[in-house]
Point group: C2
Chain length 290, copies 2
């Protein structure tokens, strides 16, 4: 069993990006610039945005955090996005989700210029992804593909079972992995809350991607020998023994699954860091106008 | 075994549309108007466009066919699309594919105003479809969903195996049928040319959608008792005994599959007419500004 080390892989990619940024700046080019919008005081959201800002610093990007109170109106938010769209110094813009319930998330995402939408959430970019056209791929799926690729894991003709049909992980992955591409060319099954006998499907899988947000859902008896296991889950479990007051739990029961797997991602240190570095890759692309 | 009669179902829907158009016009409203662009002299393309024009006449739509020679430049075509986008009298615009090889199909589709893109091929509409947002659904998938729905076929929790990953049939259907919707909520497996042992997957399926374009590909021994079978194939097979010089062949070997199926679409008279009527539904929606 080999650990798919997202931490080490993302560190390597960060160094590559830092080198590219250094060269751009030395040639008199503009430093890539990521802007992030954060509304309200949700703890997890603040942590995620903090990780992204730190990654920007590590690779040499400029970053701007725009914080707004929970009570901001939708119109105010849309107006600020319009300003950022028009600001040539800003290459990429992300809006940390979830937004407060009085704000229509779709309207906010639709307002972002697709050329600055480095999260890949705008419908036009989602459509381009489904069609296999060049675009910003959403960070978590993109990070997973890169991790599989870095470890030379063959996907062509393999049966990949995805658990979870979210718009930002499960559904994009189902589309990307079924494309005639590398990684890709998988037979893909997408399972979700309405699937009867999920274990019936997971037991057939060469590759399992667990992205349902249910701690330790995938157990050893649901997995066949030699499967590749990707754990996208990242649930906070209250834990007094931890400084932060919680620990992170994946969707995979590592204890029972790991010894059957050929490759497996840990939590933390697997998909999480790959997600953040993929956002950096997208921001660099946006800056380079690709 | 029950035949999913696309001809009869589409006729019924056409009558409903015709009634709506009559009411719109009686109230002094504008008659819906579909424009179609046809480049060159491909026989099948001419036939398809002809079917669409006839359907427009049947439901009381105005239709305009814009024919261009094989040699038209991409820029000329883009200029004409721009004119149509700006023409308020035209509600829907379709470009019959394929286009000549010197024209970039993606560039042409991207040029269509998404609000007039009644084929649902523009990336923004494709993205909206994947995200489950209101949009124009591509006609063949939309027609299939409607047919399943008209016959009261339960899809929730069923395992649907789709053969074929095209951007206009297989991939949209995989997305739509996995959405939390009705029809929808299926566990979906998407198979294609790189899938090993397609029959291994089809034998597990509650619903099979064959959309690979390979005549009589799906045989009786690949199907389990009671499966619902949807045949999207429509290949022209030369046949001297037919007036047209060819017959249409589906992807399903009807002889061996039909007696095992609970429901099955014939070819012709199944998915084909549902596709055309779905284009009419989309055009009416476009005209109503929905």
């Amino acid at each position: 069993m080999i650990i798919l080390d997202g931490k080490a892989t993302s560190d390597k990619i960060k160094l590559e990006i830092a080198q590219t940024v250094k060269e751009i700046v030395e040639k008199g080019g503009k430093r890539p610039h990521l802007a992030a919008i954060l509304v309200g005081n949700d703890g997890a959201s603040q942590t995620y945005v903090g990780h992204k800002e730190r990654a920007c610093a590590q690779v040499g990007f400029k970053s701007t955090l725009l914080r707004f109170p929970q009570e901001i109106t939708q119109q105010e938010l849309l107006d600020r996005i319009k300003e950022i769209n028009a600001n040539d110094d800003i290459d990429g813009l992300i809006v940390q989700l979830p937004l407060p319930s009085h704000i229509d998330e779709d309207a906010v995402i639709n307002a972002i210029d697709p050329k600055k939408d480095v999260d890949g959430f705008h419908p036009e970019n989602v459509g381009r992804m489904m069609l296999g056209l060049p675009t910003f791929l959403p960070a978590t799926p993109y990070g997973i593909l890169r991790l599989l690729s870095e470890y030379g894991i063959q996907t062509k003709g393999k049966h990949c079972v995805i658990i979870g049909r979210s718009n930002i992980v499960g559904r994009p992955l189902a589309n990307l992995l079924s494309l005639k591409d590398e990684p890709g060319d998988c037979t893909v099954t997408i399972c979700h809350s309405r699937t009867k006998n999920i274990e019936y499907f997971t037991r057939q899988a060469d590759i399992i991607i667990a992205a349902l947000g249910s701690p330790s859902f995938l157990k050893g008896d649901m997995v066949r020998e030699g499967a590749v296991i990707v754990d996208v889950g990242i649930t906070r479990i209250p834990d007094e023994t931890k400084k932060a007051g919680f620990r992170l739990a994946g969707d995979v029961d590592f204890e029972t699954v790991a010894h059957k797997a050929s490759y497996i991602t840990p939590v933390p240190g697997g998909v999480g860091p790959m997600t953040i570095v993929s956002l950096m890759v997208n921001t660099l692309k946006a800056a380079e106008g690709k």
